[in-house]
Amino acid sequence: MNRLLLALCLMPALASAADFGVDARNYSGGAWSPYVVGAGIGVLSWLTFYFADKPIGASSFYATVAGFIGKLVARKHTQSLEHYQTEPPAVDYGFVFVICTILGGFIAAWTGGEIRNEWLHPMWVERFGNSIALRGVIGFIGGVLMAFGARLAGGCTSGHGISGTLQLNAGSWLTVIFIFIGGIAAAMLLFTYL
């Protein structure tokens, strides 16, 4: 069984090596091959399951922070909410995980020369012009909808899309299908037909 585990650990490394061999020239600068990154996230999920007994996930973080903010502005009301009685907001594994994802993103961008203190992306500007206010408002609305949906479904692209599916969770596979249905429809409307 230990040998099996060792083989499993080596597999993504070998896949990555083979992939770099083929495509190294396409991956100058900051970017890594999607297969290397995917295998890396897969191995990271082994580690979080083994060491922390947690799947990778991001969306619960937002309910936690909303709880912290709620406690600041309306302590009594926030504490009385049913959701926070079963899952009180706390500085837990998931909270630290997401905070440190910011740090990881910074480290990767910095070492790759990709720090971009910008509001707009070329693709957005081409379609909607260079109003920062418009991008801000749309981004905010998208964020509200997305977090509400994630909490309703019980997970996001990481919690359902990667961790849930790899555990063969029936609900996660359904969620991913509906995320892609909603996403493709909205993106096509926004960028192609509207």
Binding site: L5, W32, V37, Y62, A63, E118, H121, G143, L168, G183
Partner: protein, 186 residues
């Protein structure tokens, strides 16, 4: 208020690794996620499916060894369908998801920071309306916390193996149809 320190340290290490992987994989970028939904850039699907294939083998091996446990979410049909569609719509409007948007904040992206604020509000609205929503969803079809092997009464190993093989084949075909060089260079 605080979980045990060991868990927090593990969160720190795995969070940093996750952020590095997302940013290096170019998925902390608006163009990549929007390109995926417009079916012009397949980086997101390539990363997700590779992670699923590698992850499912290892995690099921750990479970078989008795050193890890499965943690699945509930499969309430209404929650999953309504939540999934709302999530996907919001994702396409904002252009980043809950994990990739924080990695994008690390890149310094200002619009990502605004979207993260929106997510605090969205999560808060959910929590505040939980008491009103919960009975509604409780009355609808709910399969509980169930995995596909449990649902069908089969062993998880053939599922995990078959899934990894299917993903490997699908990716080989996808790479032929849509090579990485066609994905946006950013």
């Amino acid at each position: 208020m605080f979980e045990e320190p060991l868990k927090l340290v593990l969160g720190l290490i795995s969070g940093i690794l996750f952020g590095v992987l997302l940013q290096k994989g170019q998925v902390a970028k608006f163009q990549k996620l929007m390109g995926q939904f417009l079916l012009k850039d397949f980086t997101v699907v390539k990363i997700m499916t590779t992670a699923i294939a590698v992850g499912t083998l290892g995690v099921h091996a750990l479970v078989a060894l008795g050193v890890a446990e499965i943690h699945v979410q509930t499969a309430s049909l209404a929650r999953v369908i309504v939540g999934g569609v709302l999530f996907g719509t919001g994702l396409a409007i904002f252009g980043l998801c809950p994990g990739t948007s924080v990695a994008a904040c690390g890149e310094g992206r200002r619009d990502a920071m605004i979207g993260v604020l929106g997510m605090f509000v969205g999560a808060g609205v959910y929590v505040a309306s939980y008491e009103a929503l919960e009975p509604l969803f409780r009355s609808m079809a709910d399969y509980g916390k169930v995995t596909l092997p449990e649902f069908t009464g089969t062993a998880p190993w053939p599922w995990a193996g078959a899934l990894a093989v299917v993903i490997a084949i699908a990716l080989a075909l996808l790479e032929r149809a849509h090579p990485k060089r066609l994905d946006a260079k950013l």
